[in-house]
């Protein structure tokens, strides 16, 4: 079956692939290890990816459910420019500015959650940020920085693209 990941189409031919969880197809079959495994039951959020722009727990999403859909992972969050350099997503930029991650095992999921949220809500209130981000665990306890960084990412996105946020 065919799935589209970060804009490129992938053919997954392993037997029984349709019932495999997207997380393990990404990690073990495709070697895309940026998406992390934490709990396997959709609670911790470490495996969060975008499916057609919606933040989705890859550990409980069978491959068959994403056939023909656009999947975006942390590896596809930044843009590769023509000159070979990388332009970070505003969320990544903010994560660096605020020095958010500690161990960072959960942070791919945190950033993907934040990116999907900000795409829907470019100018969120702090309460909305807390609502959006309170379903992802961070055992290192980076929540205060994540909260700041989501707001900062919204500002960066606005600076980069003023019309969109207006």
């Amino acid at each position: 079956m065919k799935i589209t990941i970060n804009g490129s189409e992938k053919e997954i031919s392993a037997p029984g692939a349709a019932t495999q969880m997207l997380l393990w197809v990404l990690r073990d079959d495709l070697g895309m290890i940026g998406t992390k495994f934490g709990c396997g039951v959709g609670i911790c959020g470490s495996c969060t990816v975008h499916v057609d722009g919606v933040a989705t727990r890859a550990c409980i999403t069978p491959l068959a459910a994403v056939e023909g859909k656009q999947i975006r992972t942390v590896e596809g969050l930044s843009d590769k420019l023509n000159d070979g350099t990388i332009k970070l997503h505003p969320v990544q930029e903010a994560w660096l500015q605020e020095q958010v991650p500690q161990c960072s095992w959960c942070q791919s999921g945190q950033m993907m959650t934040a990116a999907a949220f900000l795409a829907q809500n470019p100018k969120p209130s702090v309460d909305q940020v807390v609502d959006a981000m309170s379903n992802n665990y961070c055992r290192c306890g980076c929540y205060t920085r994540i909260k700041r960084a989501v707001t900062r990412a919204a500002e960066i996105a606005q600076e980069q693209n003023p019309e969109r946020a207006a």
Binding site: S46, P101, S134, R139, G141
Partner: protein, 740 residues
């Protein structure tokens, strides 16, 4: 590149297996390797003491917080590699698990090496290349223990480059200045980069015999600055490699059988038709191990589930059994603090004796990256990639398991996705190596969350009994702390070590009374529970400080004194007491202690010392429908000389958040021979919603860095409990805090 500087290591270090060479500095370049001797710190244990006196002496020594005496290898090894293009790679044997130590240690090295911060690269040292660290990344000791070593290593290298530059330029050494990775003559007429000097070098390098001159603190350019973390650029694009992420060609996936209940031992297993299941490559059934290697994780799991495995099970353990075992027993335990005669003063107390008991529960580490390792065992060598806080321990296990010599075993430490004490060693490396050895191919073993909850080890439960005698004006004359805990360090140390220590320094971490009354006594009792227990961030610190600092608050309330004033009055007239007063006064000032608050809010205060670092916190809380909400935590930390202030803040924020999770939510229980939780549904962690504003003030003091990663987890539970008391009058003496 000069052929005179051929690598001196016996086995070629390898780049992480899946890393692309997208970033130029990822390419391993063989430039310049020097060996710099590292000072060992062996401590002789051969003094002749009576046993109780020895135990008390050991307790006093260990109260620095660092754990048992240990040493870093003194073999000449390469810490620093400079390439011809003048980039320096630091090979660090301490593990980066989010504490920012690769950044802090690089700041220390770069400071003395005199090299551009932009020109450095930090990697984990593998055990073939070295250096090797025997003590692990534990106990908040990384920066404090490495600071003197790394300054000397880097300064030695700088001096070697100056000496070589003197030869190459035909100038006296005294005329040469090292700065920004370049040696320049004082008149600036001639200069060479470190890379150029290395390329032109002929013959071998000699490490200076004399100790190098180190910079005074006043001249530091990098130490003391909030430089950005060196590991984050890879982490935010999802390219950092953790133990769970390691991939090599031809690899298989492994799974193994775990005891179904606590205390169960393997009786036997039969493979049946499992060998013909899809993807199964090898079934391993040994006396103490049943595992499967397969083409996919799912195939390995399916096969393990399908195997007929029999276990010898014991009578199912219940939480009530544990509670009975862990209760404080008067007069039992090892005396770890004894000044004056607390017992006599308490017995003679004319006022009502003040006494209270406290409890803390089992807790899980809940590190989000489960145990993981990849092993490639071949006939004459083994390579292991692993998430571990202690590569040397994993290597030792491999020596025993594989019957190889240390130099045949290459442990490649990966980034660790949360350690918190659960990755001291590895519970994935051994099964991976057993399977790899049996199947002759590389095998990756990654645990699942249920295995972590059911088959790992836990923070032990604790019980505490505190007694005090105090005067009506609030002067404590005697204080006694009797505590009881499941094993922490004892679970990992050989019995002979425990005989020397006499008590479990991990379990009683933070238990010694930090106030300055003339009569104080602490008794620590360690209980070997049937449940596996061990290291957890701060070890006994959170539990012991919860008990002591709650009790101090009770004492203050009993004489109707302000909790801050009561603490200031009862701290000792010592240097430590003065540091405490400074930290407490600062946090009170920052938190507006005593100033008006919104209706229904109250503040609580608590403090601790850990590894000589001083921390004080003020928590502001409210209560709605019996739910405790923490609105703000002010923290002041004074960890000696600060290397990276923002790093200290981040660690404090993290420790406070993790401590609040224990304070408000976390409790594991034993039910019918199992840990009650199998996943986070039954063991929820704190989320952003319940995380307060956290404001951290960092005080740098003196010329010696102290520990940071654990000390700030100490006061938080007590600060919250004390605030709840101030608000409601209810004194909550068990964690997690639950209002009646």
């Amino acid at each position: 590149m000069s052929q005179n500087n051929a690598p001196s290591t016996p086995m070629t270090p390898i780049t992480p297996p899946t890393k692309s060479a997208r970033k130029k500095w990822r390419i391993t370049r063989r430039g310049f390797l020097i060996g710099a001797g590292v000072v060992g710190s062996g401590v002789a244990l051969g003094y002749v003491f009576g046993r109780p006196a020895l135990h008390l002496t050991m307790a006093e020594m260990l109260d620095g917080g660092g754990g048992p005496p240990s040493s870093i290898s003194t073999e000449p090894m390469a810490w620093i590699e400079v390439a011809p293009d003048n980039r320096a790679t630091f090979h660090i044997p301490k593990i980066e698990m989010g504490q920012g130590v690769h950044t802090a240690l690089a700041q220390i090295l770069a400071e003395e090496l005199e090299i551009d911060w932009a020109n450095i690269n930090v990697v984990h040292a593998n055990t073939i290349r070295g250096p090797i660290d025997g003590s692990g990344t534990t106990g908040s000791t990384t920066v404090s223990s490495m600071y003197p070593v790394l300054r000397e290593v880097a300064a030695n290298m700088r001096e070697m480059l100056r000496a070589e530059a003197a030869t190459q330029l035909g100038k006296p050494v005294a005329d040469l200045i090292a700065t920004n990775g370049t040696i320049t003559t004082k008149d600036k007429a001639a200069s060479r980069t470190y890379g150029e000097i290395i390329v032109a070098k002929r013959g071998k390098w000699d490490v200076p015999k004399d100790k190098p001159v180190l910079k005074p603190v006043s001249e530091f350019k990098l130490i003391g600055k909030s430089l950005q973390r060196v590991d984050l650029p890879d982490k935010i694009v999802g390219e950092a490699i953790y133990g769970y992420d390691v991939r090599v060609p031809n690899m298989l996936y492994g799974a193994f059988a775990h005891p179904p209940t606590i205390g169960a031992t393997l009786k036997g297993a039969t493979a049946g038709t499992v060998g013909s299941m899809p993807g199964v490559v090898k079934i391993v059934i040994e006396k103490d191990f049943v595992g499967v290697a397969a083409e996919s994780r799912q195939a390995a799991r399916n096969a393990i589930d399908a195997l007929q495995v029999e276990w010898n099970e014991v009578k199912p353990l219940q939480q009530a059994d544990i509670d009975a075992m862990i209760a404080v027993r008067e007069g039992q335990g090892t005396i770890i603090q004894n000044e004056g005669d607390a017992q006599k003063v308490l017995a003679a107390q004319s006022l009502p004796l003040l006494q209270a008991n406290y409890n803390t529960p089992f807790a899980a580490h809940a590190h989000l990256e489960p145990q993981a390792a990849l092993a490639d065992v071949q006939a004459d060598k083994a390579r292991i990639w692993v998430s571990t806080q202690m590569p040397s321990l994993v290597r030792g296990e491999m020596v025993t398991l594989l019957g190889m010599k240390e130099e045949q075993i290459e442990i490649n430490p990966a980034y660790v996705g949360g350690g918190f004490g659960r990755k001291v060693g590895s519970d994935a490396a051994m099964p991976a190596a057993r399977l790899s050895k049996a199947v002759g191919r590389p095998v990756h073993v990654g645990w699942v969350r249920q295995e972590e909850f059911q088959n790992g080890y836990l923070r032990p439960p604790t019980a505490h009994m505190l007694k005090a005698a105090l005067s009506a004006d609030g002067q404590i004359s005697a204080l006694e702390h009797q505590q009881s805990s499941g094993e922490v360090a004892a679970a990992f140390l050989p019995p002979v070590m425990m005989a020397v220590f006499g008590s479990d320094f991990g379990a009683w971490r933070g238990a010694r009374i930090h106030y300055g009354m003339p009569n104080r006594r602490t008794v620590a009792r360690v209980v070997k529970l049937p449940v596996k227990t061990g290291w957890w961030r701060g070890l006994g610190l959170l539990a012991n400080i919860f008990a002591i600092e709650s009790f101090i608050d009770e004492l203050a309330a009993s004489v109707k004194m302000d909790p801050l004033a009561f603490r200031l009055k009862n701290l000792g007239a010592t240097e430590e007491g003065e540091r405490f007063r400074n930290v407490l006064n600062t946090v009170a000032d920052k938190a507006g202690w005593g100033s008006p608050m919104p209706d229904g809010h109250a503040r609580g205060i608590a403090c601790c010392t850990d590894g000589k670092t001083i921390v004080a916190q003020v928590a502001e809380v409210s209560v709605t429908n019996k739910k405790i909400q923490v609105h703000k935590v002010h923290c002041v930390i004074e960890p000696g000389l600060v290397i990276n202030p923002d790093g200290v803040k981040a660690q404090s924020e993290g420790a406070i958040t993790m401590g609040l999770s224990s304070t408000l939510f976390e409790e594991a229980r034993i039910e019918d021979g199992k840990v009650n939780a199998r996943n986070f549904d039954a063991y929820p962690l704190i989320t952003m919603r319940d995380t307060p504003e956290i404001e951290v003030t960092v005080i740098s003091r003196g010329e010696t860095p102290l520990g940071v990663g654990e000390p700030p987890i100490g006061p938080v539970a007590a600060a919250v409990a004390n605030a709840v008391f101030a608000l409601t009058g209810q004194r909550l003496r068990s964690l997690p805090l639950k209002l009646a």
